[in-house]
Symmetry: C2
Subunit: 225 residues, 2 copies
């Protein structure tokens, strides 16, 4: 079997498991976010800021995907939120089977929100459905305005794009409007938030949007029962 056929089979098998994961999450009325970005764009910082706003009001948990180290998982646990580590070794993305295995060890029944923080990679994670409800992509302003054009698959499939580190825009010489225009060119339907996890600017709009998404899911799940 050649490489392309193997890859096609891998993605097909992944889709079947992702569909099972999605059925489980929908049955629980849980909003599941697949959080993706390049290395160091601020996934864990966004999670920390989001957890600080939502904890106490919602039942939350996090699954952390990393090649190595449990540094991120410990940052989440330090906030009093449950977190499970998936260490992928050399694998450059999470897949649906890894998530299904994690669920066997890490009970997530009855959650309002589960965030799956993917491996830092702006390419391959876009191809692997995990069973999520929402795909959230973070782009660091410091990476430059042309990233959406250069990594279109990731941006094309995103429900939400967060432009993070806006506090570095001037120092990086990046025009935030150019970056947002490039996101919209690749994906006109994406909801875009410009934020700084460091200063907190823009996070209120993101958190309000997320609260609405959780509320809609809870209403939908209640209607089904």
């Amino acid at each position: 079997m050649d490489r392309v056929s193997v890859q096609t089979n891998v993605l097909k098998a992944n889709q079947e498991i992702a569909t099972e994961n999605r059925r489980f999450f929908e049955g629980e009325g849980t909003v599941v976010i697949n959080l993706m970005s390049a290395p160091g764009a601020g996934k864990t910082s966004l999670l920390e800021a989001t957890i600080r706003e939502l904890r106490g009001r919602y039942r939350l948990a996090v699954i952390e995907g990393d090649l190595q180290t449990d540094l991120d998982s410990r940052r989440i646990q330090a906030l009093g939120t449950r977190s499970h580590q998936i260490t992928t070794g050399t694998v450059c993305h999470l897949d649906a089977r890894m998530v299904a295995r994690a669920l066997a060890e890490f009970p997530v029944q009855g959650l309002d929100l589960l965030v799956i923080e993917n491996v830092g990679n702006l390419i391959c994670p876009a191809s692997y459905d995990l069973g999520e409800s929402l795909r959230v992509v973070i782009c660091s302003v410091a990476e430059g305005a042309e990233k959406p054009k250069k990594y279109p698959v990731m941006f094309h499939k995103a429900d939400v794009v967060l432009l993070n580190k806006t506090d570095l825009a001037a120092a990086s010489g990046v025009d935030l409007r150019d970056l947002e225009t490039n996101v919209k060119e690749v994906n006109p339907k994406a909801t875009v938030f410009a934020v700084s996890c460091k200063t907190g600017i823009g996070l209120d709009s993101w958190v309000a949007w997320l609260r609405d998404a959780i509320a809609s899911r809870i209403i939908a799940a209640t209607a089904r029962t």
Copy 2:
């Protein structure tokens, strides 16, 4: 054949072609750099700054690897340096065969320096030998100090690590010494340069190092003939 066996065969086939590429480059006395980083760490900016210092004195060319767009290749050509674009589509890394095919279309005989700018990805490109003489990794300070620990394979195999965007260190809240310590922990043999392609700080040391590398290669090639 399962996925792991296919991957093993792919890497074995890649190694054979990389060895042929390397033999060709060595015969030409050309220093070949495989330039790797996460998206937006500054590969093309480093190339622009390096070309400005070396052009006129050395015979240079660039091969650009990108998922989409020829934005980077056009930046290089704007400096009067020959550049060839490899567009990978959805493939997250360059491989030796892509480089061999590029060489068939893009003559590089007699060059002093060929830089192959890889796809922006801190994971998969580390596994594919292209036939290069040197592996140069750029890490943006704005990505955070812990990146070498979280992406160890890429840093472990690097000959040179450039810590770029040092002008953003204070604003990013990143201690440059922590970042350098983490690089050295993963790879004590790497030559490390702290630079800012924006302000120019530190680039003179990198360019001096590269000139020495080119000189050694020219001497070695002359000795062989």
